[in-house]
Subunit: 202 residues, 2 copies
């Protein structure tokens, strides 16, 4: 679908910054794996992280080719024909090779970005990583060099002769909606729910 | 995270049937690709489909190794430490080789499943596929043989000594919520919005 491709970096960044999960693709002995994980973007770099024991991160740190995809689902497209049913979405596909972040300052910066990517304002409130936690965490960087976006928006596109059929057609928009926060059952008495959790928005 | 793995097929099917998008992973000349697409499950088979001209489907139809992943995001887990921040999710990872569906009856059955997977009840209302549309559509089947699920639920898991910190912790639940349907601007006058669009639910 060539008319759904090719966007500027502002569009790409907006999709990435709205996404919460990316799907990381890599191969081991010819078998591809697609693993969901959190991520964060800092300027032209995408970061992922996890346990230093993670097989995925150890494989990627070797510098193998990787594909990271972020997809936002915006709606269901109900056409008059079964054939033209579709979904409205925005997605970004990133190709390249990841590198291990060993610089301590960059690593901390990336960890801050992960936390802030989930909930803006959270980093200032949390207990910061210890030396041992930093050692136990692997952070990988993927330069945003080979990147493409795809976007589908708008109403169904039916065949000309189908528009006369007595069949309802349109879009059911979908959004990710936060519900009321559930406090940890072990929460210390008297702690107020912060605004970024009570009125969560992206 | 071994304690998040290994589930029965009922659990796996429930995740698949709730998901709307899967991420398909495959390699071409050593470069992995991860592409989002719709899907449907019929018993022990996962179907994906698209244009017969699609590079992804032509590659997969050759019988190369594939990984298909479906992820449902259920919430943001705000721990007391940055380190223990996480997300609640349910995911299914399927490995194997896809085969081209050439049997006409199975192909129609799969197309019905795609439409019904998006909106239950829709198949009975739409203009059904023509011979030409069937020819232009490739359907691939992936047997659900090598399948694993991962699930994270519940509150944050903080380090014992962190529970005394005066930091709010808990979960912000997230759900995919339908908004009011947007009728096609070219909708025939007098057509009512069907209940499955007006009160969409999964």
């Amino acid at each position: 679908m060539p008319d759904r491709g090719a966007y500027d970096s502002e569009t790409v960044f907006k999709i990435l910054d709205e996404g919460l999960i990316c799907h990381v693709g890599f191969s081991v002995d010819g078998q591809p794996y697609v693993i969901p994980t959190g991520f964060a973007r800092v300027e032209n770099t995408l970061y992922i992280h996890g346990s230093a024991a993670s097989r995925m991160l150890r494989t990627l740190a070797e510098g193998v080719q990787v594909c990271v995809t972020v997809t936002l689902l915006d709606g269901l497209v109900l056409a008059r024909s079964a054939f033209h049913h579709s979904m409205n979405y925005r997605s970004v596909v990133m190709l390249g090779r990841a590198t291990l972040v060993s610089d301590a300052a960059e690593k901390i910066k990336a960890l801050e970005a992960f936390t802030e990517h989930i909930v803006r304002g959270r980093w200032n409130d949390v207990r910061l990583p210890t030396e041992a936690e930093l050692k136990a965490t692997t952070v990988l960087a993927l330069p945003l060099a080979e990147v493409s976006a795809k976007i589908r928006t708008g109403p169904p596109k039916d065949d000309a002769e189908d528009y006369d059929l007595p069949i309802w057609a349109g879009v059911v928009p979908l959004t990710i909606t936060p519900a009321a926060p559930i406090a940890d059952p072990r929460l210390k008495v008297g702690l107020e729910t912060p605004a970024y959790a009570k009125k969560y928005s992206r």
